[in-house]
Assembly symmetry: C2
Homo-oligomer: 212 residues x 2
């Protein structure tokens, strides 16, 4: 972001005021975009069906400004989800996944939960607005990381190998979202959620043949 702004300022030194004005406009547009995306998360958290007008009001920008950035509500919800997933990636990519697969799985669940919890309203809005396939596609990086860990666990005998990894992955995904629904309705405290998730997934994924 800093480099993007620096370049046009350099251009302004070379002469024409129009370059500087264009640079300011780009910086304004960038600030508005950031404001609108943050306001989307807030407005959706207040009301899952918040309209584009509600979101513009929350961001303190005009509706026309908002439409200049995002032409439809779906486009806006998708951009906010992409943004929140990028932030999650910055954290999730730092989690050490080596060593005992069960312990690594618990670390990854704990951090994944943090983001599911933060963005659960946004995700619920996205589920109404975008296709399931598109939502899954947006989660590709996070999914690939979890898949890699589950596969390693299967290879090393820590996770059962009689179920395809895709089913373990889907189960992880739906149980995480199920916990989010329990938190939303007040049946689970958000801080306890990782424990509840592990309590289901660990025995399910590591069950000895006799317990199945």
């Amino acid at each position: 972001m800093a480099t993007k702004n620096a370049q046009p300022t350099g251009g302004a030194r070379r002469g024409p005021a129009t370059v500087s004005r264009a640079a300011n406009q780009r910086a304004d547009a960038q600030r508005n975009r950031v404001k609108i995306l943050a306001a989307t998360v807030t407005a959706i958290r207040k009301n899952l069906d918040a309209s584009v007008a509600d979101i513009a009001a929350e961001a303190g920008v005009g509706r026309m400004t908002l439409y200049g950035h995002f032409q439809t509500r779906a486009e806006l919800i998708e951009a906010a989800l992409v943004d929140s997933l990028e932030r999650a990636e910055d954290v999730l990519s730092q989690i050490p996944l080596d060593g005992d697969p069960r312990a690594a799985f618990q670390r990854l669940i704990a951090s994944s939960w943090m983001f599911v919890d933060q963005s659960r309203a946004l995700l619920a809005a996205a589920q109404k607005e975008l296709s399931a396939a598109r939502i899954r596609e947006l989660h590709e990086k996070a999914e690939a990381r979890m898949r890699g860990l589950l596969l390693r666990g299967q290879r090393e005998g820590a996770f059962r190998a009689d179920l395809p990894v895709s089913w373990l992955l889907t189960t992880t995904h739906v149980v995480l979202n199920g916990a989010a629904e329990e938190v939303r309705t007040g049946r689970i405290d958000p801080d306890d959620a990782p424990w509840f998730i592990d309590a289901i997934l660990l025995p399910a994924f590591t069950a000895p043949p006799s317990a199945r």
Copy 2:
């Protein structure tokens, strides 16, 4: 239906042709309603975002006729879901739930799956159109049955009691729907789904303390 039609015919014998006409209109309306609800399931299966016009076309009725029964798409989707849940109830209420709780759970999962599989497109459309709370409310009877079985299993020591029954119930619900998503994307064969569901839920719900 037969008795409903018989009554007005008797009325016609008593004289005024208007009674008979009103009766015919009621019978027509009833037939149209049944046709529209069946067409909703078919149209939604073909295209999750099928419009009211698409559904009317599928039913072979005019849009105005459809709107005479259901004023909005949401109302129509909800009525189709209620209808399909009532059919499911007829079957689910016959399943013997006594004896070994694990075996009873497997019986209930197998039949529940059958209905989840049949109505998964309708449910996906409902998730876009109705609130999660309303959908859960419509599943109340099915949920109460499963809850009763899980509670008995916990009391009798067949299911673990360190997790609230509400969390076991939500887990069951999301894993059933997760399997439906896997079937939709072709990763699981619908006939195998009950096995995949049990493979996750039984060890998760019956894990000995050492496995957690």
